[in-house]
Symmetry: C3
């Protein structure tokens, strides 16, 4: 069995943002030499997500507005977590979008559907944070 | 290490619907010959889900109403994604229900709890779409 | 390839609660002898979650209030599932928080970010229920 590990680092300049990390996942898979197996890709922070959806700016805008409606940031005082913090909403947005994705590897490629793209979703940015890629297979 | 891959195809005649795919997952596992390992089952489309829950029609009706409340389809114009599309709500419903499940394989069987059933959740149907089953183990 | 399986049993005395199961996941990993691979940890019940987030009581209180807002328990009669049952809301809360996590194993340790802790999330307790830990790797 082969295994491979890589950290991807981000420093999103805004509080929230989505970054397409499919190219990095593909590059990691090539480096790993794995032809058949699984790729785990997860946020290593609890106010961020890794998810799969469409690379379409209108949709990303819609996600942003929708998440703010379901888990509003303001008023910050509505959350008990916000004692010395102001990011409780980010912990909630992350649960809706998810922590991780697991992607099949088939014949040396990410086995994705036609529109599937992997994103790092930041909900409390403006600092260095990271995601993990772990690949197992042979 | 053994690996196995299968696509499941669907053509849900309505916009939304839930299909129990546990029998197909079990059949795939038998075909794979894997006795110990993991099964990944994921939607290959970004307006559909694979999730695990109860096979109970009342609950499925409740999910339908609940998802429509959290991510309403109408008015279609509320979403920027809906330029030439009308399915932005489906991208949101899918994030709540999730893209994928990973199920343990133990002694040649899906290692599920007593009421766990695997579903394909369609949120933008009336066309051919698919899910992926990938099994690794030995 | 090595594989390992363990069930964790719970009997949460209240309807809802969060239990940090990171120590049990670490102990299972040590017992498994796996140095590189993946850990799957999933609820075996469809009204419970396994998720990763912060071990901070204020945040847990916020999750509780937030989930009740998104998927309210009362009135119980609003859900068709509640015929002889009263837990439809628990099936919804569980979908938001998720069924499972997959965690990388690197150099014999759970490859978690600095604040990542694994929780069993109970949404319909006051009875014996369980989660599954399955580890594969070498």
């Amino acid at each position: 069995m082969k295994t491979y590990r890589k950290e991807l680092w981000f420093n999103v300049p805004t509080r929230r943002g989505f970054i397409n990390i499919t190219p990095q996942a593909e590059a990691s898979l090539r480096e790993s030499g794995v032809k058949e197996g699984l790729v785990l890709c997860n946020a290593m922070h609890i106010t961020a997500s890794v998810f799969i959806n469409d690379d379409e700016p209108g949709l990303h805008h819609d996600y942003e507005a929708w998440l703010e409606k379901l888990a509003p940031r303001e008023p910050v005082s509505q959350y008990r977590h916000n004692v010395g913090e102001d990011n409780a909403d980010a912990h909630m947005k992350r649960q809706i979008m998810g922590r991780e994705v697991v992607v099949a590897v088939t014949e040396g490629k990410l086995d994705l559907g036609p529109w599937e793209q992997i994103f790092y979703g930041e909900f409390d940015g403006r600092r260095k944070k990271r995601a993990l890629i772990k690949i197992i297979g042979e």
